[in-house]
Every structure is written in C-alpha cells, then in structure tokens.
Symmetry: C6
Subunit: 74 residues, 6 copies
C-alpha cells in the first residue's frame, strides 16, 4: 500500500480527530481491499445505528493514540 | 466540516464529559452525514438498552482522552 | 443538566468505583433523557447476561479514568 | 453496599488478576442486585463462548488498572 | 487455583504476546471451571469469525498491559 | 510457533500500523491454527461490515501499544 501515514502529528485537535477516522477506515481497506465490495457494504452499514456506534468506537480508540502523540495539543 | 473542536481543555470534569459526548457523536456525523437519516435511526436506537450502553462505552473511551488532556482537572 | 460531577477525586477505591458506575449511567441519561423510557428498558436489560456484562465493561473503562485521576489511591 | 474494595494493591500479579475478576463481577451486582436473578442467568451464560469472551474482556480492562496501580509488580 | 502467573515480565515481545493469550484464556477458566464444557464450546467458537475476532480483542487489551510491564522491551 | 515478533519498533507510523494488523491477526492464528478453516471463514467475514469494524477495533488497540513502544515516532 502506498504511503498514507507520514506522521501522527496534526496542527489541531480536530485534524487529529480526522486522522483518527482515517486510521479506523484504513484497517478495513487492508482487510477488504476491494473498493467495490466496500461500496456495496456501505448503504446497509450507514443506516444501522449500532454499526455507526461501533465505528465511532474505533475512532475513539485511535483518537486516544493521536491525542497522546500530540501531547493533547497543549 | 466546520470547526467544532478548538481544544480538549474544559473548565470542569462535567464539561469534559459533555465534550466526550460530542466526540462520540461527531464520528457518526462523519460516517453518516445526512441529518435526516440520523434522525430516522434515533427512535429505535434510543429505546434499545444495548444500543444505549454501546454509546455510553464510546463516551467512556473519549472521556479517558479528555480527562488526560486536562490532567484530570487536578 | 445540573451539576453532577464536581470532581474525579474520591476518598477510596470503592467510592471511585461507584463514581465509575455513575459515569457509565450518565451517558445513557444524556442520550435517552426520558426516565420513563429508561425504566421501561430496565427489566429486559437487567435479566440479560450479555447486557449486564456490556454495562460492566463501560464501568471498567471509566474506572481506569477515575483510578488514574486518584493516582490509584496510593 | 458494604466495603469490598479497600485497595488496588495486591502482593502478586495473580492476586491482581483475581481482583480484576472481582471488579468485573461487582458492576453486575450493582446493576442486578438480586442474587437469585444472577444465579438464573448463570447457566446460559457459562455455556456461551461469546459471553465468556465478553466477560474475559472486562477482566482485561480492569487488569490494566490493577497492574498500573501496582506498578506492574516490578 | 494454583499459581500460574508469577510475573508479567517476559524475555521477548513474542513471549509477552503468548502471555497475553494466557491471560485472556484464564478469565474463561475462572468463569467456566469445567474443562469439559469449555471443550464442548470450542468447535463452534473456533469456526466463527466474529468469535475469533472478539477473542483477539481480549488478547490485544492484555498485550497492552504486558507490553507496558516490560517497558515495551526497549 | 516460529519467531514472528522480534520487536515492537518500526521505522514509521505506517509500518507500525501494519505491525498492529499483524498482531491482530496472529491471535486468530493461535486460536484457530488451521489455515484451511481460516480461509473458509474469510469470504463471509470480509463482506460483513460489522465484522470488518470489529477487526478494525482490534487493530486500533494494538496500534496504541505499538505507537507507545515507538514513543509515537517523535
């Protein structure tokens, strides 16, 4: 896979949050490399509350990492 | 998306908790940008105990981050 | 919502545990503000082993935060 | 509830693990105070692999806390 | 239960990983002490992808603890 | 099992992420040693959004460990 993660540093807490979203999504790309399949899964997934909460949980875990890497943007 | 997260600092532990709730919800907004769809999911979700507990779990993970960022409001 | 979380400090590890339970429950109150609906969900929830374990998990995550905030009561 | 958690300190890593099990179980007691109901739930729960794994997960989270409180028994 | 966890220290990251697997399994043994029942659950469990992922998650949580205890084998 | 984890150190955040994926997968190999069975599980698993998210969650937990081991590649 090409370079997609040069650093965990971001300028702001919000950019860090967006990086956490990217980190959560990338694992899915590594496991299911077909963009077509991933597109097919999206509609069902995006309209299921528990699926959305589960995805939000993965973002939360990555955000802990990104926030620590940025010393909580202090 | 417009600026919504200028800082992880809050004045009190309770404001930090409310920020954790915001952090948990925002990931859902990034994944399902349609407010209409999110509204449609709400009734079922809000009356399911496991869905509520799962949402509470995401808040708990973010609260770890926010509390650390505020040095536990010591 | 009125003030309910003045501090993460507690006198003992057990009081910290009870605070973690409060933290876990509060997120549910923020998401489902109706006490009536929450009461309605309780019987099913309280008699489902996996629901109870899931709730215990949220307490465990918050307890990490509370314990760290209290320097593990050392 | 009577005193059940005087300290997070234990003499050995294994005693710390057993404390983590206690911490995981206590949250269930707080949520479902009836020992009769908890007994009734046990048979189904103890013979379901995913229920057992979920319980093991809560122990793992508490063990992080207990291990940190004991400076990893170094 | 007899002594099974004298220390969280291991010589290598891989031995630490194997200790994390042991830690994940032990909680199941404490909850379901019957080796016969555990054997009976194994076939279904070992051929269910989500069960395997859930088990992998518990290992991941314990590995955080073991890695911290070993200062990440630096 | 042969040596597969000599170190948690990686040169870049992205290599660390790929190590986290390896760590997530290895636990499945320890639990289900048959590569044939694992292959059989793959198609169903790779086309289920929640299975993919659950797998992404395990990667997120391991990535916390790897990132800490590398001092967040600072």
């Amino acid at each position: 896979m090409s370079d997609w993660l040069p650093s965990l540093k971001t300028k702001t807490p919000q950019e860090g949050y967006e990086l956490a979203i990217l980190l959560a999504r990338k694992a899915i790309g590594y496991t299911q490399p077909s963009a077509d399949v991933r597109e097919k899964l999206r509609p069902k997934y995006e309209e299921d509350a528990d699926s959305l909460t589960l995805a939000s949980q993965v973002v939360a875990i990555h955000y802990q990492t990104v926030a620590a890497a940025n010393n909580y943007w202090q």
